[in-house]
């Protein structure tokens, strides 16, 4: 048992983090939010999409013979964790899962989105291809300024493997977001002063921050393990814990930021809103809990 990142995996993570910092740093993030300020729906950055494609983001798990990178789910999880950290917008998971099936998806030339269990579709207008039935989709004003949403009524007919992988990669994105808000909270707590000392010296604030970190670490162990086992109960556990780590983490981070956290200028709300969007993808809390309950009976027998 060597349940830790290999050298190659560490290098991959660093590489992706650097790529995203260069191509989608804070300025780009805030520029993307700009559309919302102007009352427009955000555009998908096609150039960035193609860059992601040529970096292997979408073709990561395709065999090399099919022009892919030939890596596995653990690597995909690390990459999506970085995407979640950087708050990278777009139907990343749907396009990744379509690589090899929808022409152009692997290279980042085609943008693919999917109708999923939450009754909404992300990035429908920007997509070149839609998996699932989006007939009669109605645009809604998305709470997340970086994710345009449509409401759909069609029942979901996603294939089981896709649903599982979507849930796992969603958990990976949530993990990245959770880890990032933990850093932001700690950073703010170290520097913001009240009553003549950094607020991080107050236990109430310390314990909020420590709680965020504990949820991140527990979720990390669950997400990485699920990437290795691909066991449906492990994936359900990973998803539950990562959703919790991201949503509660972002809320607590906002609290640590005080009034600053409630302003549009601060990034904290962007992390929270995206965590909400992801949390309603297939593999919701109820579904996960039921899967895990059923697994208990199956294992205890």
């Amino acid at each position: 048992m060597r349940f830790q990142l290999t050298e190659d995996q560490r290098a991959l993570r660093t590489g992706v983090r650097e790529l995203l910092a260069a191509r989608f740093g804070r300025e780009r993030l805030r520029a993307a939010v700009g559309a919302d300020e102007a009352g427009e729906v955000p555009e998908l950055d096609r150039r960035l999409w193609r860059e992601l494609g040529s970096a292997g983001f979408f073709s990561l798990r395709l065999p090399e013979t099919a022009g892919g990178v030939g890596l596995g789910l653990p690597e995909a999880v690390l990459v999506f964790e970085e995407a979640g950290r950087a708050l990278l917008p777009g139907p990343l998971i749907a396009t990744h899962l379509a690589a090899g099936e929808v022409p152009g998806a692997a290279e980042g030339g085609t943008v693919v989105t999917a109708v999923d269990g939450g009754g909404v579709v992300e990035w429908l207008e920007a997509a070149d291809a839609v998996r699932g039935d989006a007939a009669g989709a109605v645009p809604i004003r998305s709470a997340d300024p970086l994710t345009p949403l449509h409401r759909v009524t069609a029942p979901v007919s996603g294939d089981r493997t896709d649903v599982l992988l979507t849930s796992l990669l969603t958990a990976a994105e949530q993990l990245g977001t959770a880890a990032r808000v933990c850093e932001l909270a700690a950073q703010h707590a170290r520097t913001r002063e009240q009553f003549g000392r950094p607020i991080g010296a107050f236990q109430a604030v310390q314990h909020l921050c420590a709680g965020i970190l504990v949820r991140v670490e527990v979720a990390r162990a669950a997400v990485y393990a699920a990437a290795v086992t691909v066991d449906p109960a492990d994936i359900a556990a990973a998803r539950l814990l990562a959703d919790e780590a991201a949503v509660r983490g972002a809320r607590d981070c906002l609290q640590v930021h005080g009034g600053m956290g409630f302003t549009w200028e601060s990034d904290v709300h962007l992390y929270l809103k995206r965590a909400w969007v992801r949390a309603r993808r297939p593999g919701s809390v109820t579904e996960c809990e039921e899967v895990l309950a059923a697994a208990l009976l199956a294992e205890a027998r």
Binding site: A210, Y224, A225
Partner: protein, 377 residues
């Protein structure tokens, strides 16, 4: 990221499993929880059995992955818990191994491994719990001995211990953390009075220990005089880092039994309760993975955020597990019936957020040492 056994690990697991299958059925019946001499004999006997089969040293082994397998397999097979050997095997022993002289190692370690001597931990005092460095038990040097006076409290297994890892103040004028010394005190020395304390579970799990001019040879000092705080940190890292690993496996088993019981008695049809058990499944699966992660990281020589993060979440989850148990099994007064073994487990789970450093203290440790926040107030 690899969760599968290496060939050596698989071989170890298979050998252990086979051995457990042979040895466990012939084990004597467990003594009653109140029979302390019986429990001591039983726990020492099990350690001796492990020792004779070559597993005596597994907690101290160089390979943490092997230790994980040991804890997983013994717990799954329903083997006895370390029990009275907890302190000796899991933190006093490892501390002596790390910090003791060759003579001290030769004197104290083999009897722990062979299941001959029991240790207890005399750290806490009535006025020094979370604030351990406030301890006041005094030791003054008199020739080749320290003369110790003061008192300790919540000392687990003190009644049946042969040795006590004892913290004393050797320099009252030094700054708090600087005047402390780590001693191994023989529990049969004159001047020691052990007064059992009743826990809220009704048992005599721990005791008060009064020390009146107890002579402890200077040769029993581990580390330098007044350097005991550093040695203590070594002890605590073993205590928090390793102590609960096997228990996660036990909790997973209990959770499975609970699910079966719920199906039996119809409570499983309540979706709220069912999902609560599902969520606990997520919790204990993740805690097991976190343990594997910490252990893998530690074997690389990198101390992970490990112990405190794990202990915080685990102690809480364990309490939630028994709250759920009360929901599942509690009809007809069972939740209040002390004859039900899980009612005692529910009661003792309350100690997990207190013993070995409270959750509040662990939160502060995580905030300050992991997240680098300023020292708290």
């Amino acid at each position: 990221m690899d969760l599968s056994d290496t060939p050596q690990e698989a071989e170890f697991r298979a050998r252990l499993r086979e051995w457990l299958g042979k040895v466990l059925p012939s084990l004597p019946a467990k003594p009653s929880p109140d029979d302390w001499p019986g429990r001591r004999a039983y726990d020492l006997g099990w350690q001796r059995t492990l020792y004779d089969a070559g597993y005596g040293e597994v907690h101290w082994g160089a390979d943490p992955a092997v230790r994980m397998i040991f804890l997983e397999e013994t717990e799954k097979a329903g083997a006895p818990y370390v029990g009275a050997n907890f302190v000796g095997l899991l933190h006093a022993g490892p501390t002596v191994a790390a910090e003791g002289t060759e003579e001290q190692k030769a004197r104290w370690l083999p009897p722990v491994l062979r299941g001959e001597e029991v240790w207890c931990q005399g750290f806490s005092e009535p006025d020094a719990g979370s604030d351990l460095a406030a301890l006041r038990t005094r030791a003054r040097r008199d020739g080749d001995a320290y003369v110790v006076s003061g008192s300790k409290i919540w000392t687990s297994h003190a009644e049946v211990a042969d040795w006590c890892e004892l913290l004393v103040r050797t320099d009252p004028d030094a700054p708090r953390h600087r005047g402390i010394t780590w001693l191994a005190m023989p529990m049969d020395a004159p001047g020691i009075t052990v007064r059992p304390l009743r826990t809220l579970a009704g048992s005599n799990e721990f005791a008060e220990v009064f020390l009146d001019e107890v002579r402890v040879p200077v040769a029993n000092r581990v580390g330098e005089e007044n350097d005991g705080w550093r040695v203590t940190m070594v002890t605590l890292s073993f205590e928090r880092g390793t102590a609960f690993v096997g228990e996660v496996v036990a909790c997973r088993r209990v959770l499975g039994e609970l699910a079966l019981a719920a199906r039996e008695n119809g409570r499983w049809d309540d979706p709220v309760l069912r999902r609560r058990l599902g969520r606990l499944n997520a919790e204990f699966r993740a805690l097991w993975r976190l343990t594997q992660w910490n252990v893998s990281e530690a074997s690389e020589g990198v101390p992970g955020v490990g112990g405190s993060v794990f202990k915080l979440r685990y102690s809480h989850a364990r309490q939630e597990l028994y709250e759920a148990a009360a929901e599942v099994l509690g009809d007809g007064g069972a939740a209040l019936d002390l004859e039900q073994p899980w009612v005692l487990d529910r009661l003792s789970s309350l100690s997990y957020t207190i013993a070995a450093g409270t959750s509040q203290i662990q939160h502060s440790i995580v905030a300050e040492r992991v997240l680098g926040l300023p020292k708290g107030r």
